[in-house]
Symmetry: C2
Subunit: 161 residues, 2 copies
Amino acid sequence: MPPLPDPTLTAILDRMPVARLALRELDDEPAALPIVFARAAGALWSPIDGKRKRGGATLGRLARLERAPRVMLVLDHYHPDWSTLWWLRLRCIAQVVVGEHAQWAAAVAALVDKYPQYQTTPLFRDEPIMVRLEWTSVTWWAAAPDGLTRWLAAQPARGDD
Amino acid sequence: MPPLPDPTLTAILDRMPVARLALRELDDEPAALPIVFARAAGALWSPIDGKRKRGGATLGRLARLERAPRVMLVLDHYHPDWSTLWWLRLRCIAQVVVGEHAQWAAAVAALVDKYPQYQTTPLFRDEPIMVRLEWTSVTWWAAAPDGLTRWLAAQPARGDD
């Protein structure tokens, strides 16, 4: 596939509400989990938010990321019409950050803008903790050459419009 | 979370059309990709099918699985109503199999039954190759205690009904 134009990539990152984060378990086995995320200051940010969690699982995730920060974020579109399928895979460096990070306010604003759910779900659970994902390479696939732009064109308008 | 009843697990596996497979790259970094799959003979089966692929990528995937067969399959439900979210994670042993496998016919039948798309998309591309995933453990999470059964109840009826 040819390189993905940056505006297409950022538009997809801003519109896709969920992605799957592939990471290494403490025993080095591969794992993945769905996350919400928003783009700000050239990176992606995923909060440890107030959605109901299993006890201990979240802290375990942070320990895994600190031990093995090289991860992959997968965004993909599934639909019964297989001519519309696509995926994006971003190799990322993960960093666990807390409230004093220089881009913290921008990240919070991006998350609240992207997810109206944070009007009722707490953005943080106990402490303010986010995972910052800096992507280092992007690969993609689409069943149709214009699959990504067609998907973007079909997304509802965002935010204040 | 309490153990998931087997009928709930198998019903979800039979209804969910897509999952993300987390695996290890040749350099041991974690990766994931979306796959289609069907359940037959106590395992899950995912074909190297005729959806348009990148050159070489498929063979690369098989080499990775043969080298590092311990993988994780993630099924999850995303919806703007976050009270409906859930995920299932299956630790699996992956095996690359070809047409002479004893359960081959059952696996093909399950895939064709689950995906009407295979009436027009070739089930195999070049050679008949499938990835067989045998799950060894299951963990799950749901935002609401009855999230999985509510999702199942909302799925359209399948196949011949």
